[in-house]
Amino acid sequence: MADGPGPQTSKELEEFRSETRAWLEANCPALMRTPMGEDDAVWGGRDWKPKHPEQKQWLDAMASKGWTVPTWPTEYGGGGLSPQENTILQDELRRIKARPALMSFGIWMFGPVLLEYGNEAQKKKYLPQIARGEIRWCQGYSEPGAGSDLAGLQTKCEDKGDHYLINGQKVWTSYANEADWIFCLVRTDTKVKHEGISFILFDMTSPGVETRPIKLISGASPFCETFFTDVKVPKENLVGKLNGGWEIAKRLLMYERTSISAGGFGGGAGALPIEEIAKHYVGVEDGKLEDRDLRARIAAHKMYDKAFALTVRRAQEMAKAGDNVSHMASMFKVAAATMNQEKTELIVEAMGNRALGWSGDGFTKGEILAPRAMLRAKGNSIEGGTTEVNLNVVAKRVLGLRDHQ
């Protein structure tokens, strides 16, 4: 993404590796190298109160190097690293088991499209805030009547001369109740569908914005209903052209699908491998899991997981070689959702009745998490484009199959 330096010699890269290693050694606090608990993720934002001072220290250190967004240009708060340097940085972070300094929809989704479609003033204003974790963003996409058919969205945005006026409702807005700003799809022309959508930004503290968390089957409430009543938005907050938002929206979805897939839907660095969980709860006989049918299915799952990781790596190498791999985002989304649902189900199955607890002291903390992870994973094939919508994309855009005539 960044205009990194040209091809680097292996000597230069080795130097970068040893400098990076030394810097991380000196700047990553010990606590930030321990496995993350459930609520240890750092999302930043105006209202963020660090649970531990080390979280702030680690975020500030990484942000000072631009390494929360390693490949963004330095003038926007990025690290300006080449892809090879970024690979080394990620290797070294993994090596010391460092926690992510910052989780952010700004980093994963909004920043990349703003770099491409934003004007200079917008990039200068918003990108460094994202890099430093100062502003937490949420995504105003889905509406009650516009889920898979996203372009059917109705949230109205009227031109009032010196400002825009927004009225409508969003749903499934991740962490809207904790976000500072929203990037939002709005309808600026009601006579046409895709060509009447614009991409706009506004402050969630604006008068007329209201959020209500939605309780999910997993017990958590990561999503909200979000209501807009006569919300005034400055005109300079429009990104790209008026009625030109659909192109940006689709590009952002590509980043969203890629980031969801790359993360493998949680699982977390500290999580035990599934076969170790199974060994503990099922038992071992002659070095093999006692339940041979479950063993075979775990093996099949691990092979799928490995095949997926190899394919992500192949796509990265292809992209580096200049091939267009944008078509792979939908494919990765489908595969990653399948994989995580399979994994969380296998874990619940392997744990037997120990995975059937909801709360209280009768189960360990890990046992309580297992069924919730399985329940949460059902959303993986719905959020960010359902599996069905992504299969449509593969069939039509990749395979060239046509619509009914």
Binding site: A299, M303, R314, L391
Partner: protein
């Protein structure tokens, strides 16, 4: 890991051009009708003249030394049209065994003949209905082989047999000329028209080849190479089917515009992309001499088996009645698929092995 050199690109392009022109599926049909050997010797000579029989063989023995990635590319192209030849049995499996385990004399005797397309080699492993190298019983005491091997690929046309047998302790490999005394070869007519053989040994004199570690090394090369051929088969089966979806009309619509078929096609595409990564990574692991070849081999063979199984079935189903006729190609892909899925271990065998390699 996945980046091809210019030399590899050229090799693949040459293989594609040759196979598409001289060995389309019509060639397999012709072999089925008129060549009991299961392949066309004149074409095998041409393939050898192009250097394919010697892709793995060092230059000093008359080969081109282009490595396993290069071999995989050619096998994939051959898989696309189901081109029958001893490329896998001889140029990959036979050559690998001799290169890795052969003495100087054994290499000097056989490698130039393999590279020139003058000797066919077959690896005799299985002794029952299933691939189970750990259960091999064939007796090699006193370097004389006694016992039976089943479904030896290219065993019916081999000049040299490489036989897995037990001399008291661990399983090792032995070389036996196919026409030696004490060797009885019974040709089999097979589903894929390529043929194979059951082979009985009755005191046949054999030379040892390499040590116990060679068995797994050679088998893993056989698995990875076959997975590359299967990737080619599955890719072509998918592309042919995809084209059919774009031309066949029912209810006044192209059948490819029906979502039920679109989603199944898209799922096949995802499976193919994942399998391609596994096969390419396994071939690269061989060339890079990595220590996780066994894991890569089981991953590639299992994934290729599952993917080819799915795609070959869908190829018949999506072609409808036409897919059931002998005149159309889906049946050819289905038949070769089932043979390739079983050889050197089914997906189920390799899932079990993958679990064992990962200690569970």
């Amino acid at each position: 890991m996945f980046t091809l050199t210019e030399e590899h690109d050229m090799l693949r392009d040459a293989a594609r051009a040759f196979v598409q022109e001289k060995m389309p599926t019509a060639h397999l049909r012709a072999v089925r009708e008129s060549k009991p050997d299961g392949f066309d010797r004149a074409l095998w000579k041409e393939m050898s003249d192009l250097g394919w029989a010697g892709i793995l063989i060092p230059e000093e023995h008359g080969g081109a030394a282009l490595g396993y990635v290069g071999m995989g590319l050619v096998l994939e192209e051959c898989g696309r049209t189901l081109a029958p030849s001893p490329l896998h049995s001889t140029a990959l499996v036979g050559a690998s065994a001799l290169i890795l385990g052969g003495t100087a004399a054994q290499k000097a005797e056989w490698l130039p003949k393999i590279a020139a397309g003058e000797a066919v080699v077959a690896l005799a492993i299985d002794e029952s209905a299933h691939h189970a190298p750990e259960k091999i019983k064939l007796d090699a005491k006193g370097r004389a082989l006694t016992g039976e091997k089943k479904y030896v690929a290219d065993g019916h046309v081999a000049d040299l047999l490489i036989v897995a047998a037990r001399d008291g302790g661990a399983v090792t490999l032995f070389l036996v000329p196919a026409r030696a005394d004490g060797v009885t070869i019974t040709p089999l007519k097979t589903l894929d028209s390529r043929g194979a053989a059951d082979i009985a040994f009755n005191g046949a004199k054999a030379e040892p080849l390499g040590g116990p570690e060679l068995v797994d090394q050679v088998l893993d090369r056989a698995r990875i190479g076959l997975a590359a051929e299967m990737l080619g088969q599955a890719t072509q089966a998918f592309e042919t089917t995809s084209e059919y979806l774009k031309t066949r009309t029912q209810f006044g619509q192209l059948i490819g515009s029906f979502q039920a078929l679109q989603h199944r096609a898209a799922k096949m595409f995802v499976e193919l992309e994942l399998t391609r990564s596994c096969v390419l990574a396994a071939l690269a692991a061989l060339d890079e001499n990595r220590n996780d070849v066994a894991e890569h081999a089981s991953l590639a063979k299992a994934r290729a088996g599952e993917t080819l199984h799915l795609v070959s079935n869908e190829m018949v189903q999506m072609h409808g009645g036409i897919g059931m006729t002998d005149a159309a190609d889906p049946g050819l892909y289905l038949k070769r698929a089932r043979v390739a899925e079983a050889l050197y271990g089914s997906a189920s065998y390799h899932r079990d092995r993958y679990a064992a390699l990962n200690n569970f």
